[in-house]
């Protein structure tokens, strides 16, 4: 397949709903992992430090 403007347009438009859904689910998954793996441990550390002070 040649890389033309039309071909690229077709590539994006093909299964567009599925692609949007995939991006939304990926963002949600990233947010969940961020929340559980980074944000919550940071909060825990912060409160432990404050309690020690």
């Amino acid at each position: 397949m040649k890389i033309t403007r039309e071909n690229l347009k077709g590539l994006v438009k093909n299964n567009l709903e599925l692609k949007i859904l995939a991006v939304v689910v990926a963002i949600l998954a990233w947010l969940y992992v961020y929340h559980v793996e980074i944000y919550l441990p940071q909060m825990r550390n912060k409160s432990t430090h404050e309690a020690q002070k």
Partner: protein, 257 residues
Amino acid sequence: MGNTGIGFEFYWLDLLDIAFLSVLFYYLFLIIRGTKSVQLLKGMIIIFLATFLSRMLDLRTLNWILEKVLAFGALALLVIFHPELRNALVKIGESSPFEKTAGLSKEKVTEVVGAIFRMAKERHGALIALEGKVGLADYVPSGKIINGEISRELLLAIFNPTSPLHDGAVIIAQNKILAAGCILPLSEKMTFNPLVGTRHRAGLGLSEQTDSLVLIVSEEKGFVSCARNGNISYNLSVEEITGILNETLGTDIKNGK
């Protein structure tokens, strides 16, 4: 990108992380689209979101229960999505550059095409699987080994309604009719044409699980269909079928072997 000032840090690498995740989810959705697994996946996403919300709102008991459900759910996923995971791994293996397509010479293509259109004319049902990169040896034991040269006459004899082997599928591999009367896996697609029967469902099923090209002759309608990559095309002409065979089994035919 650094700290965005809205409570969390976001870096360029995270954007790459999300991009990779999106591609992964997209292909997962493509694989399970139109199957029963869609409902299961929706259920899993709802439980996942509920767990996330319960954690954010600090609803401890609900969160404890949902986390346990998710932990068991991860194990259950392996069992529930077993066929889809299998298909995905097969598809990853298919794209290996070290594998060769099982060839079919130009003469043999003519024999196969001639046989299926003769059967369509006479309204004799037929199911012929042409092996791709993924081997079909798993399905051979369910039928009878033929190991014969491909010929129009042999195919017509196998699918003659009085033949004891006419109900199953013929498997063609390495330029030979490897076996006949083989049982193929049925497709679980719910969006399936209600006008065609089990033979078509079996052809589609095999094309979902392997990269085989499956030719199907409808006994009732007398038309020829072709299933590949989990999609099925109905009522094809001689030129269309020959074109598909040329395109799919490409190199050997172009070389005129």
